[in-house]
Amino acid sequence: MAHRWGMVIDLDRCTGCEACVVACHAENNIATVGEKQAAMGRTMHWIRVERRWEGEFPNARVRFRPVPCQQCDDAPCEPVCPTYASYQNAQGINAQIYNRCIGTRYCANACPYTSRYFNWFSPAWDKPLQLQLNPDVSVRESGVMEKCTFCFQRILAAEAKAQAEKRELRDGEFNPACVQSCPSAAMVFGDLDDPQSEISRLSRSDRGVKLLGELGTFPKVTYLTRES
């Protein structure tokens, strides 16, 4: 059965703890760029938590919004890549093929969410930290674009397991690292094309909005707006 993977993020539940950010770094072998590079704006948070202040002191409130790659159906980052390093695979994921990337960075400019990240240097891990690298995910070299893939390695692993056990994937059987690590269960992941899945129910909620939906990118990440 063909899947169309999507995500729902409940902004009422997000506490801004950034556990998702850390989990993503761990799962996907993302480099920590260091203080100097971060000050330049070269962080590599495939999922980032955006922060917004509302109101004036003493009634100021802070709002959080985690932004992964929105996995757009009509992704503007895909047609502009000259080497097909960015394209949409059969499961609706906007795939980034590191080996094809020559680093024109056109896709990063085209992405309205700026959810794409570039390896300005070759990442390096001081010993013994290289032992923590996830063997299921390749390590990228300098000059290559990278971004959130909805932990496609976990999707593939779950599919392989389900195939070995000769059954279909079950809803909620596995999750990307960010969804798995969220302490307030603000994120839900699943198959949008499966009418029984929790996500297809949630993404049709009245509170559901798409980030920058007016641009016509048709993202597969739905945000449930705050009610409080």
Partner: protein, 174 residues
């Protein structure tokens, strides 16, 4: 090939020399294509009236353009169908981008065809053999006759001198 030619520094005299040769063509058995002209400027710019030349170069350039456009279109459609990777929900053969690439290849085809036709019709690059006098590039105009009847050589020489040639030379090469 044998040739007798005169070098003229004045275009008016060169033109008169050309006319004289033409007038004498019946008597001296000279065909039009035996008459040699060489100059360092285009003949029209110096006032030599030569028979109009016809060429199919523009048509060939257009044909080259069509071939180029076909090649470009085929390149896009063939390669994208062979490896169909969907991007941004665009069709695999997207009309507008295909049009842009086809247009560029059309123009490239026309350009390359023009250059090629130029080389072929002028028979350049030319091998070293053949008549040429370096004084032509100093501004002299060469008017002469190739492979004429040897009985008329002195006649030709005199005609060229009378029309104002600075020098008259003979060229002889196997």
């Amino acid at each position: 090939m044998n040739a007798i030619y005169g070098l003229f520094s004045d275009a008016g005299c060169a033109r008169k020399a050309l006319n004289a040769l033409r007038c004498a063509s019946a008597r001296m058995h000279i065909d039009d294509d035996q008459i040699l002209v060489m100059s360092s400027e285009p003949p029209e710019d110096i006032g030599l009236d030569l028979p109009r030349q016809r060429t199919r170069m523009p048509w060939l350039a257009a044909l080259g353009g069509i071939l180029g456009g076909t090649a470009g279109y085929s390149l896009v459609t063939f390669t994208q169908r062979t490896y169909p990777l969907p991007t941004g929900n665009m069709p695999i053969i997207a009309l507008w981008p295909t049009g842009v690439v086809t247009y560029e290849f059309t123009m490239l085809g026309a350009i390359l065809t023009t250059a090629l036709t130029f080389l072929i019709t002028t028979r350049l690059p030319r091998s070293r053999r053949g008549l040429y006098d370096p004084e032509v590039s100093s501004g002299k105009i060469l008017i002469g006759v190739a492979d004429s009847d040897s009985n008329f050589w002195r006649d030709l020489e005199r005609t060229l001198y009378e029309q104002g040639a600075e020098r008259v030379k003979q060229y002889s090469h196997a």
